[in-house]
């Protein structure tokens, strides 16, 4: 079942330096229980695509569908009902004056279910005592897991993860990746995972979309893209990971 679909998405920014085509004719689908990875170097349009999908900015042209129903042009207040964004810097995604419990409850759209919060905390590997803490009192990794719990509490069906491990140290990164893998194997995760790290994406995602200069240069299953890359740019990305590993 296709949950999310983007058709021929374009985004053009008009600023002081002129027109910038940040997205050019990008199309994708995301099925239930699937994790779609979007990789590419800085400036390739990954984050713009995430902002367009989430409704933070409207596309210049093209359309977006959730379960076959068009939602192009809807704002985060409406899109938040079915998708949630996990931000790169988890700490700054929590109000510094608010306890974690309040922040999670805030995302429930009126729902106040402490048992569910405790269940979610267990799911992401956190403890009840951390609910009374503020973002400044938790580590980056704990905040990131807390933001995953917050997103799940909203009952949204899709997570949009924007470079969620790039601000974390290696061991914390591993714990967050492990959590995502566990959620995926439990069938609880349908997500778009944005990262510049193709090795990380290949560990979590079922399918990969490679972006360059606002275009999708290659799209396919993880095994296909990693094992048999068709585009020169994808090969370069994979080779650079191999070189780093050596």
């Amino acid at each position: 079942m296709v949950l999310l679909e983007g058709k021929n998405l374009n985004k053009c920014f008009n600023d002081k330096i002129g027109y910038t085509n940040a997205l050019q004719d990008v199309s994708f689908t995301l099925s239930k229980g699937e994790v779609l990875g979007i990789v590419g170097e800085s400036g390739s349009g990954k984050s713009t695509l995430l902002r367009v999908i989430s409704g933070m900015i409207p596309p210049s042209s093209g359309s977006l569908y959730f379960k076959g129903e068009e939602y192009t042009g809807k704002k985060p207040r409406q899109t938040g009902e079915f998708l949630q964004v996990i931000f790169q810097n988890a700490k700054s995604s929590f109000d510094p004056r608010m306890t974690m419990e309040k922040a999670i409850l805030e995302n429930g759209r009126g729902k106040k279910d402490k048992d569910e919060i405790l269940r979610l905390l267990e799911l992401v590997g956190l403890e009840e005592r951390q609910l009374s803490r503020r973002a400044g009192e938790l580590s980056g990794g704990q905040c990131q897991r807390m933001s995953i719990a917050r997103a799940f509490y909203s009952n949204a069906e899709i997570l949009l993860c924007d470079e969620i491990t790039s601000a974390l140290d290696v061991s914390t990164q591993a714990r967050v990746v492990e959590l995502l893998q566990r959620l995926k194997s439990d069938g609880k995760l349908s997500a778009v995972f944005i990262s510049h790290d193709i090795a990380l994406v290949s560990m979590i995602c079922d399918r990969i979309m490679v972006m360059k200069d606002g275009r999708c240069v290659e799209q396919g299953s993880t095994d296909e893209v990693i094992g048999n890359p068709k585009d020169e740019y994808t090969r370069l990305l994979i080779d650079s990971v191999k070189r780093q590993a050596i």
């Binding site: 989430s54 933070m56 704002k75 985060p76 207040r77 409406q78 899109t79 938040g80 009902e81 998708l83 949630q84 964004v85 931000f87 810097n89 700054s92 995604s93 929590f94 109000d95 510094p96 004056r97 608010m98 922040a103 805030e106 995302n107 429930g108 759209r109 933001s147 917050r150 909203s154």
Partner: protein, 273 residues
């Protein structure tokens, strides 16, 4: 890190000491009715311009009124009017600033240009002109000063709202379906309160000078009501015969302004550590 903690401790101590002084001033003027040895408005032909002594600790004025009692009662007028004016300017300015910073657009352009116009004139000149036109005693003086006072609060809260609005937690609140009113009240206001309150503290001294200045010029409190500025204005005519009638209200004004300005400064330093 250790140096930072030491500085924090030092500043905390200073804040406590200066706050206690400020509290003492407020309590003395609030309980003027209990502390004052004489009625501040009773005139006495037999005790005109008496030097400070046991019966009249700060001496008497041209009408034989107790200067000490009038300083205490006058402080009540000055401090209450100052606090009220700062509070109203803080409320109006902060609301305008938050709305401008949050919504931007034409509303922001209009209100900020109005603020620029207000800042183009020296505050005291505008206040004198407006107080003169209104001729409404202390309330007129408060309106006159308030016309320009909201601007600093508006500009400060606007710039803070701009930066808060860019924070990811505001985006998260949008995804949680929260209304603009909720976001402004729950996320924006509490996060800009500290710097704006610090600004309010530093404004207390300036406002006190403004109100006393207008009263000194005869544009504030109407005699015989006791107020530090009007007391100085009345007594300046016989300063060479009875300098205490000018000296004590002037000292009270200077000490109070120094205490509140210093309190604002140390709180600001503490926030920056």
């Amino acid at each position: 890190m250790k140096q930072r903690t030491l500085r924090e401790k030092k500043l905390k101590k200073r804040i406590i000491v200066v706050s206690l002084l400020a509290l003492l001033i407020i309590l003395m003027t609030t309980f003027a009715g209990v502390i004052a040895p004489n009625d501040p408005y009773t005139t006495s032909a037999s005790s005109i311009r008496m030097a400070p002594g046991a019966q009249y600790p700060f001496g008497t004025d041209n009408l034989g009124r107790c200067v000490f009692s009038r300083v205490l009662y006058g402080g009540r007028t000055t401090i209450a009017a100052t606090f009220l004016l700062v509070f109203i300017s803080f409320s109006i300015g902060t609301v305008i600033g938050m709305l401008c910073g949050y919504y931007g657009g034409i509303l922001d352009q209009l209100l900020m240009r109005l603020a620029d116009i207000m800042l183009a004139f020296p505050q005291m000149v505008v206040a004198i002109a407006v107080a003169g036109i209104l001729n409404a005693g202390m309330s007129g003086a408060m309106v006159a000063l308030g016309i320009t006072m909201w601007v600093s609060f508006a500009r400060l809260s606007r710039s803070h709202t701009f930066s808060i609005k860019k924070e990811a937690y505001i985006q998260a609140a949008f995804f949680a379906g929260k209304s603009d009113f909720y976001i402004i009240m729950v996320h924006v206001f509490p996060n800009l309160l500290a710097p704006v309150l610090t600004n309010a503290l530093t404004q207390i001294g300036t406002t006190m000078i403004g109100l006393s200045g207008l009263s000194f010029l005869g544009l504030g409190v109407v005699p015989p009501k006791a107020e530090w500025g009007s007391m100085i204005s009345e007594a300046k005519a016989y300063i060479q015969i009875a300098p205490w009638a000018v000296l004590f209200p002037a000292l009270a004004t200077i000490i109070t302004i120094i205490v509140f300005n210093y309190l604002g400064d140390v709180v600001m330093d503490y926030m920056e550590v």
